[in-house]
Homo-oligomer: 346 residues x 2
Amino acid sequence: MATIREIAEKANVSIATVSKVLNRKGGISQETVNNVMKIARELNYRPNFTARSLKNGQSRTIGVITEDLTVFNTPEIVDGIDAYCENNGYHYILGNLRFNKRFGNQPDPEECAKLVHSQVDTMLSKQVNGIIYVGYHSRAIAPVYNYEEIPFVYTYCYSTDPNIPCVLYDDQKAAYEATQLLIDRGHCDIGVIAGPTNSIHSANRILGYQEALYANKIPFNPKHIVYGNWERDIGYELSKELIQSGVTAIFAHNDLMAAGVIDYCTEHKIQVGKDLALIGFDNREIGTASRPKLSTVSLPLFDMGQTATQVLLNILAGKHIQRGQKVMLACTIIERESTMPASDSC
Amino acid sequence: MATIREIAEKANVSIATVSKVLNRKGGISQETVNNVMKIARELNYRPNFTARSLKNGQSRTIGVITEDLTVFNTPEIVDGIDAYCENNGYHYILGNLRFNKRFGNQPDPEECAKLVHSQVDTMLSKQVNGIIYVGYHSRAIAPVYNYEEIPFVYTYCYSTDPNIPCVLYDDQKAAYEATQLLIDRGHCDIGVIAGPTNSIHSANRILGYQEALYANKIPFNPKHIVYGNWERDIGYELSKELIQSGVTAIFAHNDLMAAGVIDYCTEHKIQVGKDLALIGFDNREIGTASRPKLSTVSLPLFDMGQTATQVLLNILAGKHIQRGQKVMLACTIIERESTMPASDSC
DNA sequence: CTGAAAGCGCTAACAG
DNA sequence: CTGTTAGCGCTTTCAG
């Protein structure tokens, strides 16, 4: 690859002059400029990013660490990071921890820490200015590193340390809206199939659900909340309970469990979308595959990627960030067939 | 961040000595080694990758260009690249073209070329040693660049130029095996719902299908092949035709069209897995969501990523590569419920 | 307007 | 065993 020096030789000028021309610094005669540019083009010159970074002492590069690229949420988030970087003249390098293949859903904290540590080390050695850490499932994570050296932003997970900003989606608001949709469709006996009792997602979604009931003056019946394990089978089982206890609508905390509800209903000739209203969460592919198509809550993944990048670049630009900043992005309700027919209200 | 120079000062040795210690070059007294290492650790020293690359004139880094990270096949492939790089001491940088959001399924060749060109330029300026190009749907692509400068390997797509190696999966073999499975399950009137007539995938899969019939001495009835558009609705419509013409098994060239077949059968009380055997292709999420669960063909995506990287690293290591090398990786048949009950043979 | 020279952090001859 | 020196490709100050 051609270097600045080769251009200088061909053009019979010094490398300093070439550098100035290439960087449009001005103070160079038009003639020289033209000539240098012409030769640069002929030689198919491309600046050496490495050398430039070294000299300038800055890379305009951020690191993106994904816990697992193959998990459904992650590619969209990275897509958002990519777009935001491109629009702001930043580069990023991706590091993928492959937690899924290595650990399944039960990451060994010890091993994880080692992987993260080594990934951060690599990135630091590549002179990144900051790091976005993308969780593979939402949970609280201890600070991954002696993060003081460099700003971190978490997304799709959050830190136990209040100094690390995170970008999340708003479970509570989404649940409020999902519940409101069910109410708008004429239901007041609304069951909830939540995730495990220790899920923060479910806790927040239950809050949103309760708020919506309250706002609509519908009494809250604690029996209408049952707890599952995010799997399809449990949706099947729990829907039985719920339906027998008289609910006419179900808010399942993920699409998989909602699919289980559809399984149960199909088997028992209960028409979802008519006899029973159903809404899921996550907007997974399964929701368009099911019959009827599942109404659900879509996660703002692309936006989370963009926002996380924005937050990080703001920090890098020295803009003040509140301690413990948590950016909450809104989800979108997607109404499909499972909640469709508006019947009469309570 | 600490530099080699700071270590040298604290240790009262020259930077050359420090460098030698850090790179385990030997010829340094144990005492000095210990001391330098200790100080390096205290200072939390991390080598500057940028400086090292510049000096050594090589980055041990490859570029990975994805046409679209958010498309179902891509993350698994990148995961494979990641794993292979990690195991072989290589780095990679990812560039994501975001074709899907920019163009949908109809990429404008002009615009694409511009994006690719600029991405390759960036990577070249970052001194990558080679590039893996990951297609977002399988098709022939004109050489993306003046690729002579640097080796390219394509995966999930192939080049019109025979000099560029590509890593693909073996449609024909997979189709042979899928058809054989149907035959093993007792069927001889096997319909095919193919993709569009111009799809190379479908052409190869039809070949595999015909081979399997021939190997089992089953006459090939051209009427049993119908052409769709990869969408679910067309699966519904075409299954009608096929079933009326008397087939007892269907090989759909993707899972989406297979889901359409299930739709039709559910509606017409035809029990898939009993009255009709069905196998799809791609192993998408929808296949576990459907009832019955869909038998299908799983793509060797992770393996494609690994193999593409292997091919590229071999080229970089100077190993000879045949002109026009096409590596064909085997798919895996996944039998689920839609082909299950083995009945009596023809 | 142009060029010489220093230096980013690191490695590798080579000399001592 | 250790240090001096040159230089990777580039930018920037300073002198001319």
